[in-house]
């Protein structure tokens, strides 16, 4: 199936029986793209896979954020989206002394969390499950959040190859932040290079094979 590159406002397809999917709109029987990305038609459903743009949060997403501010009942967290998120005291799985909230999270510290709910009041985060919490050390950098699905691959196939080849522990958050911890800085940089390769080549087919080839060509 072929995809084509579309820009906002471009007519993707025409026809009364077509359904507008994600990032599209139907006006006068024409399906119009709302984003810059790849248009896809599947069983009369037309959708666009965005190639750029800011991260739009969804419930259940795992995100990496930076503490922006402390309030009397939680922390304001910058997760790279239009609105800031909020981590409530109730969602921290330990006792927190309200007079010493800096002991848990200070301003500018990083944390990995899950989006627990999105409502009118804003985005609420939680760190109650295993694997969430403060990022103490490692390398954190950002990539285009639209490329995150490609970095992870089908059922984690891509990220597992990179983990295996570099020996690093890698967390890819949905908002485009990548956290790498490895045995040495060289290993971490090697993993970063591999991830950058994936984001650059994200549009080609059979990317997992390409990455395996890349690892053979670019040994440490």
């Amino acid at each position: 199936m072929d995809r084509k590159v579309v820009i906002p406002g471009e007519i993707i397809a025409e026809g009364e029986d077509l359904l507008p999917g994600e990032h599209t709109e139907k006006i006068d029987g024409k399906v119009i793209s709302l984003r810059y990305g790849l248009a896809e038609e599947q069983n009369s459903l037309v959708k666009v896979i965005p190639l750029s743009g800011v991260y739009s949060p969804r419930r259940g997403n795992v995100v990496i954020g930076k503490i922006e501010n402390l309030t009397n009942n939680g922390w304001v967290v910058d997760i790279g989206s239009a609105d800031s998120a909020f981590l409530s005291l109730m969602e921290v799985p330990r006792y927190v002394n309200k007079d010493a909230m800096e002991e848990v999270f200070k301003i500018d510290e990083l944390l990995i969390a899950k989006i627990w709910s999105i409502g009118k009041r804003g985005i609420d985060l939680s760190i109650k499950s295993r694997g969430y919490g403060k990022i103490e050390e490692g390398m954190v950098f950002s990539v285009n959040s639209n490329k995150v699905p490609r970095i992870i691959g089908k059922e984690g196939s891509m990220i597992n190859i990179i983990k295996e080849k570099t020996g690093c522990e890698i967390d890819v958050a949905q908002n485009g932040y990548v956290w790498i911890t490895g045995p040495s800085i060289d290993d971490e940089l090697y993993a970063k290079k591999a991830i950058n390769f994936v984001t650059e080549k994200s549009f080609i087919h059979g990317l997992t094979d390409e990455v395996t080839k890349w690892f053979d060509e670019n040994k440490k």
Binding site: K66, D108, E109, L110, I135, E136, E137, G138, M139, V140, F141, I185, E188, L189
Partner: protein
């Protein structure tokens, strides 16, 4: 001065540790410059213009000539005006509105390097003594900020000035004919002021930082060198320097400025 930093502290820790081993994230040594590319005459209307790329950092520098009255204390000298703008499109750290501290500093450091070195022979830019002189406008625009805009601006200004041609001046009508460029160049001297910024991160010194490294910089010293003579010097940020460190900075900057000058000359031929 509050600075917006886009590099995370945990990543910063890694950069510092790696630097102590004498290594950098992009595989360079601390005193290695990134590749410089210079694209000539990118602007149609400017008398001389270049697009300079240092790695991913990109600036456009344009030179425009104008005729105006000289200042009363220098009736036989032309004028030089340098302005720098940090466009919001080049980095999430810059915003629209009046120029901030960083943009003003960028313009002034570039200006001082060009002025104090005597690179432009301002005496020769006099048309009628006390009445009409040429004014050289140098405009620096950042297109992409991946660190080290300071050095990119000076490299761009030097290249643009070297390429610029004077427009025709109608003495009778007292008008500049911008459409008719003459073959005449701006009178330049051999004193080329190549500015090199040396940054200090922890105990390590380095040149040509990327955005990540510049975020961590504790102190920056920008030195304009022309053939071993210092024509301007600017220290920014709060960290203090020891005398030995300062001596080392001079050595690094002098060596780097020679290399960069050779590169500029090769690229604008």
């Amino acid at each position: 001065m509050d600075k917006v930093r886009t590099t995370f502290e945990v990543t910063g820790e890694r950069i510092r540790r790696y630097l102590e081993e004498g290594k950098r994230f992009d595989g360079r040594t601390p005193f290695e410059f990134r590749d410089i590319t210079i694209e000539k005459n990118v602007s149609k209307k400017a008398e001389g213009s270049v697009r300079v790329r240092i790695g991913k950092t990109e600036v456009i520098v344009g030179v425009k000539m104008g005729v105006s009255e000289p200042y009363s204390d220098s009736p036989t000298k032309g004028n030089l005006m340098v302005t720098a703008e940090m466009l919001p499109l080049s980095s999430p750290r810059f915003e629209i509105g009046p120029p901030k501290f960083e943009a003003i500093e960028l313009g002034r450091v570039t200006d001082r390097g060009l002025r104090e070195s005597g690179f432009i022979d301002l005496e020769k830019l006099c048309i009628i003594e006390g009445e009409k002189v040429w004014t050289v406008f140098v405009d620096v625009y950042s297109i992409n900020d991946d660190g080290n805009l300071m050095d990119a601006a000076t490299i761009g200004s030097i290249a643009a000035l070297k390429l610029a041609r004077l427009p025709k001046y109608d003495r009778k009508e007292k008008k500049v004919l911008f459409d008719e460029l003459t073959e005449e160049r701006i009178p330049l001297t051999e004193k080329v002021p190549v500015a090199i910024s040396v940054h200090k991160i922890g105990p390590s010194l380095l040149i040509d930082p990327t955005r990540e490294e510049e975020d961590l910089s504790e102190c920056r010293v920008t030195i304009s060198f022309n053939k071993g003579i210092i024509s301007s010097l600017q220290k920014s940020e709060s960290a203090a320097l020891e005398i030995d460190e300062m001596k080392k900075i001079f050595e690094i900057a002098e060596k780097a400025s020679e290399d960069v000058l050779k590169q500029i000359e090769k690229k604008i031929k």
